[in-house]
């Protein structure tokens, strides 16, 4: 998934925000089904290796959520059987399936989000809003691993000098506290030098800081952005116009087959497939290039 991850962060962010909004606020069986299937596909493309292991998590989760709902909700006109005097209905079961599709779908897309929106992209978007905060976050991301490494070094150094080398709980807690105290001093010391280095490079010279990043908004980003807005607009507009209403209780409503609904389904399907299609497009371009040589 290099091509999709290579898009401008603002584009990918918009994509995920719109997608998750639709996922969570438009509970329609067709849309949910699409989101689930495409989410699984996108995740499989993004992280090929972990995919098999993930099935072991998401499938049971799906079934669990699906089964839980009819056990606790007894609404619906089609009772299947009665459990302790309460009806277990077809509608509740289907509603459970829809809930499960939503939960698992949202989780899958969040996973994709995590894979694509790395910390620097997030920082970049944040920085556009508040440059100070983004610098602080960037410094924190730099500092934390250094801190962890130093803490480990200190605690090993102490151990190898025989200080609190005992294995009892009290010893370990004591050791932790000593290391922590030393780390506070180290952090301050370190911060002084970092501050000197910042000052030496003109930080706080009174000028308004620029917010630099390696990301560029290219024509391809524009194309993708336009496409995603257009495709996301269809289901949202249809929903606003009431063309995507669907209820489970007490009786399932009919699935809409109006032209507006069909357009919405198709557009949303394409919207969900955008990352995969983008990838396919890149692969195709690559192959064409190779052939020409």
């Amino acid at each position: 998934m290099k091509a999709f991850a290579g898009l401008h962060p603002a584009v990918t962010m918009t994509y995920f925000v719109l997608l998750l909004t639709v996922c969570m606020f438009l509970p329609h069986p067709v849309l949910q089904g699409q989101a689930l299937v495409c989410g699984a596909l996108t995740c499989a493309l993004l992280c090929r290796r972990g995919a098999a292991r993930d099935v072991g998590f998401y499938l049971p989760l799906f079934l669990l959520v699906a089964v839980t709902n009819p056990l606790f909700s007894h609404n619906g006109v089609t009772p299947l059987f009665f459990l302790n005097g309460n009806p277990v209905t077809l509608e509740a079961l289907l509603y459970g399936l829809s809930l499960a599709a939503m939960v698992v779908g949202v989780l899958l897309w969040c996973k994709a989000y995590n894979e694509v929106m790395t910390s620097d992209k997030f920082l970049y978007l944040f920085g556009a809003v508040t440059p100070k905060l983004s610098l602080v976050l960037s410094m924190a991301l730099r500092f934390l691993p250094a801190y962890r490494r130093q803490a480990r070094r200190v605690s090993r150094a102490q151990k190898a000098m025989g200080l609190y080398a005992g294995s009892s709980m009290v010893c370990r807690v004591k050791n932790r506290l000593r290391v922590l105290a030393a780390m506070v001093t180290w952090s301050l010391e370190n911060a002084m030098e970092t501050a000197a280095s910042m000052k030496a490079r003109g930080y706080g010279s009174g000028k308004r800081r620029t917010h630099f990043s390696l990301f560029r908004f290219r024509p391809a980003d524009g194309a993708f952005f336009a496409a995603l807005l257009l495709l996301a607009a269809a289901p949202l507009a249809a929903a606003a116009a009431g063309a995507l209403n669907f209820t489970y209780y007490p009786r399932l409503s009919q699935l809409q087959t109006t032209p507006a609904a069909w357009v919405a389904y198709a557009a949303y399907g394409l919207f969900l497939l955008l990352p995969a299609m983008w990838e396919a497009k890149e692969a195709l371009v690559w192959r064409c290039c190779k052939r020409k040589i």
Partner: protein, 184 residues
């Protein structure tokens, strides 16, 4: 880690199902209980279920329920019917018998789960609490008065008349002066 959480959740669910008992009945079994023969001289009560108020607040009603199938045009879900009164029968016992004999959908929360220590009727005939505005739900009246306690704690006497009424205004639209937050 994720897997463990899942397993834990599944285990809790299983335990919950097991603890609450598992009496499984088919649909036919559940609804088959025919109306009891009422021998002369036996003690009886009369029960009716109505939802007239919904008709007056139709604009607040959940769109999915706006159909004569769920809200009868005359507001009558069950006309006044006589039922055999067995010793110790509560309002809830009679209601349950009535819905089973007439094949009316009903969902309730068991007394052990309810904060009132009594069975709480959540919905009858697919009309649920909050189905018709935020102040809606089921209440009951015995001989024209709204009791101040739960339906499974009200033991009935011969000849009493029970009405289950759907309210849209916390009882005010059906003549209850004040119902202290417990509509049934």
């Amino acid at each position: 880690m994720k897997q463990d959480l899942l397993a834990l959740f599944a285990l809790i669910l299983l335990a919950a199902v097991l603890i609450s008992g598992t009496e499984v009945q088919s649909v036919d079994e559940y609804y088959r209980t025919h109306a009891d023969e009422i021998p002369p001289q036996s003690e009886t009560v009369t029960l009716s279920i109505r939802c007239d108020s919904v008709l007056r607040h139709y604009d607040q009603l959940d769109p999915a329920l706006r159909s004569p199938e769920f809200v009868p045009p005359d507001g009558v879900i069950l006309p006044p019917t006589r039922y055999l009164l067995r010793p110790g029968d509560t309002v809830f016992d009679i209601l349950q018998r009535a819905v089973r004999q007439n094949g009316i959908q009903m969902e309730f929360q068991g007394a052990e789960k309810s904060p009132f220590g009594s069975v709480y009727v959540q919905g009858i005939h697919w009309l649920y609490e909050f189905s018709c505005g935020p102040l809606s739900g089921w209440v009951y009246r015995v001989d024209g008065a709204f009791p101040h306690y739960g339906c499974s704690r009200y033991t009935l006497q011969n000849g009493q008349t029970i009405e289950w009424i759907y309210t849209c205004e916390l009882g005010q639209d059906v003549g209850a002066e004040w119902i202290g937050g417990q509509p049934s």
